[in-house]
Amino acid sequence: MKTIKLIIDGKTAEVPENTTLLKAAKTVGIDIPTLCYFELKDMNIENRPGGCRVCVVEVKGRRNLAPACNTMVAEGMEVYTHNIRVLNARRTVLELILSDHPAECLTCAKSGSCELQSMAQQLGVREIPYQGEQSKYRKDTSPAIIRDVDKCIMCRRCEMMCNDVQTVGALNAVNRGFMAVVAPAFEMNLEKSPCTYCGQCVSVCPTGALTEVDHSRNVINALADPAKTVVVQTAPAVRAALGEEFGLAPGTLVTGKMVAALRRLGFDYVFDTDFAADLTIMEEGTELLDRLTRYLKGDKDVKLPILTSCCPGWVNFFEHNFPEMREIPSTAKSPQQMFGPIAKEYFAKKLGINRKNMIVVSIMPCLAKKYECQRDEFKVDGDPDVNFSLSTRELAHLIKASNIDFSSLPEDDFDNPLGESTGASVIFGTTGGVIEAACRTAYELYTGKKLEKVDFKELRGLENVRHATIDFDGLPINIGIAHGLGNARKLLEDIRDGKSQFHAIEIMACPGGCIGGGGQPYHHGDSEVIKLRASALYREDAGKPIRKSHENPFILELYKDFLGKPCGEKSHHLLHTHYFDKSAGVFVEE
């Protein structure tokens, strides 16, 4: 590749051709501010509309200022990133953006993580000279996400995520000019759109225009109610990211501190969703083996590949977009929803309390879980199996609000019996993890042999779509993995067109899997953060004494004691579900 030499603020930069000024400047230690630009490196995710214009720089010889994010380097270019003309323009542009923005930082959910707020600080804006009308829109509260688009700055990141990455198309730029904004069709509520609640729009929004529905108050109330036994479960990916909210380096595992904090918050039992993940493997793995064996015997009715069903964002996606294929995914519930009935139908009975007096709270990296726990089929007589689902971010706020000094907390252990888990369940939190966990168990159950090499490195990584063939003692099992719904769509279309060669496919709605979930601490476009979270989970897995789900002693006990056998009648009733056709239009009604 050709190398280009140019001068930025008097410094000589040498970069490959087709590099943007923004990136070229970085190589010489110049950090040009940006708002609309967004990138997740190595994940093929980029937003470059050139719309906010705060990144403008002066390029000698050009009539107008040039957006650094959208201007390619050229030989001999002379660039100025902070002369008077540029500084005045950048500042005026930011003042304009702020003049159409409600200054509600004191009560804004995004305050502290808001890129607009920190840019105003960075540029030292102390007053907004250009006052005028502000664009106002209806606030929209869905089961998982709040849209307060008065705060939208039209960076279009959410639109890019929802359309290009997730191929959901729930959001689009609408209207023109001053009233232009990103919204669902007919500016209706998100609830009436094909939104999957994956939360990826929330995780990239630079402002408080998109945030999660906050359920922490409900949880505080439950904790304060002496009549309630409050049980909490924590998803695998949370422990790899929660520390970031307290200033710990990305990739720091905080499992023990998290448990300690939850206990201090007053939860009666601190359990682990990982336990339910082991259960998921038992159920899903058994279902896979069952379908596989019948298929190999020539049963024409068997549907293969089997698709994982542990991600509710993904479930929403195929219910909306591929309802005719809803027989293909595993019927196993997600770990969150497996945990619910085990807690309320098994553990509550053990304790001798009525399920209505037990409150199950989940801590999730995910916003789709908020919606999932509100689904009707996951309720008994109106009582939800899981009452409230909090995001990693909400948990962090709760801890801060309760005066807990997180970093000085001692490490603590989960309660039993629903707190014991294996390494297999920990890696559920990253793309490829579920299928790796399933392979560990399915291999041993199918071959009857002991698996010597537990790590399936070929299933790991961040490429959009991965495939690998695992040798089940002479039987090659073809495995596909997709993270991000756009990638999932490709695999699904192959299945629909009869082109799929896979026996089993793992799908996660979020890029990177749950470690990149919509409820995680904001990564602000730093894909290193996501990678570090993944390696933390693999570390925790490697350090676990038991690394296969079917060896979890409490799981074995649960089957003996209560469930019977995987995919048996009781499991079928409590741990499996069915899917709906949600493709019907939702145009406006009165």
Partner: protein, 159 residues
């Protein structure tokens, strides 16, 4: 927005329009033009069918409909009155003409009279600047309209 139920026949008509454009998503604007000329406006239900036929998201169709001022989600009056507010018409007093229409029809721009007869909208130059100020009622062009000529124009359609 109220719910409208299109008849099967109308839905088929719309699908045929999409088909005539090979259900190509690039033809969205052409399809919307055709649909609007068939139905008079583009209610939500229509946009949903078009989205499905062209295999794009409804949000995208709505995003396009709301970008272009030619497309409307409100039914127009039987006699849509459009006043040109282009520069040539503006400097020749189009604003006063508009005010007069508003006053006499008792509606604002973008509204339709309660009897459904007239609706009022503004245009940006119809390319008849030589006749400024210009008013259109339906397809008919009125040139050199003065405020005191407004009543006559309305009367023409009020029989």
């Amino acid at each position: 927005m109220a719910k409208i139920k299109l008849s099967e026949k109308k839905i088929q008509e719309l699908k045929d329009v999409c088909k005539a454009f090979n259900n190509e998503k690039g033809e969205l604007i052409n399809v919307l033009h055709k649909a609007q000329s068939l139905f008079g406006y583009l209610p939500a239900e229509l946009q949903e069918i078009i989205a499905k036929e062209l295999n794009v998201s409804v949000a995208h169709v709505y995003g396009v409909v709301t970008f272009y001022s030619f497309f409307t989600m409100q039914p127009k009056g039987i006699h849509p009155v459009s006043i040109c507010l282009g520069t040539a018409c503006y400097v020749r007093g189009a604003e006063k003409v508009l005010e007069e229409f508003k006053r006499q029809l008792k509606i604002q721009v973008g509204e339709t009279t309660p009897d459904g007869k007239f609706s009022l909208s503004c245009l940006r130059c119809v390319g008849a600047c030589g006749l400024a100020p210009v008013v259109l009622v339906g397809e008919k062009v009125y040139g050199r309209v003065a405020p005191d000529g407004v009543a006559d124009i309305i009367a023409e359609y009020n029989t």
